[in-house]
Symmetry: D3
């Protein structure tokens, strides 16, 4: 089970509301490469991993990503807090307001609600870990995209912190693949499977 | 942020694998009325609630639902652990195996991946709380459905515990609505909105 | 079966085209909280309600919502009628035009096609009615959002009428819940179910 | 607006429950070729049709399809009415019960909720009518599929009636295309568009 | 199997980047009426067509549409190549960049990922061909929409070529329907089916 | 553009129809890890790759996967060819027949239509290649799942061939990552990005 701690992994204090920027950041809340998908992916994959090391790794990172989900939600909430309809009327993307009002809804920037079709959870440990490597790269590049669009230094410090964590996770998943490949009969994994190959 | 505790809110020890029953239970993992949707709904809504009491309530229940998500995943994992392709061949629903293997994927029983279209997160506190009332009833009735289909007493004890918690949450959301209605100008909420009504 | 009446429940005469505003209103045509979902929800739920009173209520409101769907479509059609590509080129949201041209497509403001994942139809009467309470609040708040974005008094009169009807429906569903709870063994519904509880 | 008539276009009296057959018929309720999509397609397209004849045709058929939606729902409701969990346990497709209980949910047989991605509503009258021709063929062939799977004569009489109506609609849409092509400058429609071709 | 030819069916040389226009054109890459859907539709339908003529037709057109998919992708790629974040910041639709960066993702203009719900593949030859007639009209009208929004002559030449090909395909599908209706017992197709009608 | 060759990369001659097995294999046609997603992913990513080597690799493999898509479709078509409604009635999964008849529709085994949400196309070359590594593993493990469920040696020879190709692709993508990392400033890719880091 989970316990809630009343602080963030990295402090967030946005000084200026900017609903247009919030619209871009929301993709890391509920978009295909975002933190919701990340935590669900890892916390779901761990059930069928073959050993406690990989189970523990997926649990640790999955729980950390829940905290990042909270951080991204906090960014969106602070960037829109108190924003008036007048501000949204001037916005280039007021459709978000029509659909959701001032809120933090799990969707991509372009408005597609979060869909678990963007994650894979298989019964194969190696496949799960390659999925996770790719996921970390996709999260990293989405934070890159956001950094290129944002001029708010308070936002950017948070995004840079989150991006850095994805790089650390990427490396830990890479190490887990090495360990697993050493443990498994490598030929089996890549070239044959004794249950149906001879 | 979140901290992981290495135990469940209620112990789970399934003695017999039963992939067909797992296929039914998975809907409370990633189906429209399941625990994933519940926790994302509550943890997303809290950002824009107007006071600390309702924020705290949504955080508490959202975090508890994350633990319930883990419990439902554990049920599915234990019901399928070590299940052989031969067992699945005999199954009436081997399509899950084709798509996901032996794993815990966030989907409905009928195979639709989790979609945030099934939850609402609005900027309106009262609307959020009615959404939550309804969500608890939908989760309760889905557990009812599962109980009617399952003959495994080990499974049923867990499901009954989870169902009971949904009823408690339903009552807490009902109380929150009462509080909020007293606090707000009720006429405003239901009959007029001074920003555009006169 | 249904019969068509060649008039609207409330007259609509929009004087100025405004495709951008149409883009916002379309969410009540085919978005998650819109009139299409409302009518499908109620007209589908009624089949398994336990008595003629609740069946009749769901039929009445479901049929009225079909009329509201037509009204929202009429708003969108009048707001875009005769709009030229040049107007859309200047628009901040010309993507709608690329996907659908000048038309009334059932989608959210942000462009997600209507998806029945946003509605619940269960075999449980009480759950259905709580779902309906929440649905009316979600429709009400979406009309609130539209009113805050729109400056066109001809549009706003229609939206206010539609919003008022949602509030009436909300109250009728609330009364239906009271009736049902008195009729049912309440303990059963909330605390135990004699088919699997003792 | 719409008025409800308390009778069906064709009487339905199913004598034996058969949840498995209901699972097949549900696709004409909320599947990609079903009656919900049909009525939404026609009732949405009519707003931008260029003359009262085609508007009237789409309204007439759209309203009739709403009645067919009700008939298909009635079939599903009667085929499942009073079905016990024990019957569903023996079923090859009990996943529907887990997700929805005994109810009439708008989905395909395989469990995908209705999605308006399966319909097209464009601002082009000819395109709309070809879409409608295709839609009627798709509905006809789905009723063919159901007839080939069902052995219940009470069900089959209803399905044959519904199938016959699709054929009539197909012919009416074909006539509307002829009329429209005569009215329009045909060369324009197929080979050039004077607004950007010379 | 397929072989790749290193040239396009029609040359593409866009001189000015224009990410906003790319956002509109992308709908013919992965939107509901686009080239991806077209090629998947035809290449999937051909497996169960009753004769080599219709199989060959579907293969020919399906393969040509793959080439058109490549052309539309090339348009999008050339229109965005080297576009800087600064250009996107000024854009009215920078959400695409947040979700996908500078890339060619299969989606509609409004941001919905390609979904095969927008195509039909049935076991009925006539239904497939009517689906195809409608598909060609929907592609034609979407190219019309794009032409009305675009002022770039280099883009428009390509779009006009693609539109013209859809009209040719439309006519070929029309001919195939005539052939098939002559070959089949027409009464059977429209009015009765001897396997269940008498 | 593409040219069609009237032969398969590997011959397919299935002797016994088996619609139930076809239902499992269809996931590699249109499921989340299937050949349709694979070819669309690679053929879309190549537009923005930074050099001709990686563009060529993605084109080569993308085109080969189109051929594999054709092979999987051929498997499904041969396994269902001439199957009678009576066979499907006995089947544990006759819902496919209700929705699609005897046909080859792009969907998962559990019935979800192909959705591009399951693929990523970014403007970042390294991210694309990690996505591709993961994709090949997911395809490989799905073929493993199918092999474990299938007892038909004619099917299994084809599946083993396809699985082997995924392993070859996996290795080629791994090599491409090595090349790209050597070419790029590795520190930049993983630890900093000079456009916003200092």
């Amino acid at each position: 089970m989970f316990e809630y701690k009343k602080f963030l992994q990295f402090p967030i204090n946005i000084k200026e509301t900017d609903p247009r920027l919030a619209n871009v950041i929301i993709t890391q809340y509920g978009g295909p490469n975002g933190e919701l998908g990340a935590s669900v992916r890892y916390l779901s994959q761990r059930y069928t991993m073959p050993d406690n090391v990989s189970k523990g790794l997926l649990t640790d990172i999955g729980v950390e990503e829940l905290g990042h989900l909270e951080m991204v939600g906090t960014l969106v909430a602070q960037l829109t807090k108190g924003s008036t309809p007048e501000e949204w009327k001037k916005l280039q993307s007021w459709e978000y307001y029509a659909d959701n009002g001032v809120s933090v809804f799990p969707q991509s920037s372009q408005g597609t609600p979060f869909n678990a079709a963007s994650i894979a959870v298989t019964g194969d440990p190696l496949t799960n870990l390659y999925e996770d490597l790719a996921a970390e790269q996709k999260a990293r590049v989405t934070y890159d995209n956001i950094l290129r669009l944002s001029d708010d230094p308070d936002v950017n410090d948070v995004i840079k912190f989150l991006r850095e964590r994805e790089i650390v996770h990427f490396q830990r998943f890479g190490e887990a693949i090495q360990l697993l490949r050493e443990r498994l009969n490598q030929k089996n994994v890549y070239f044959m499977n004794p249950s149906f190959d001879k």
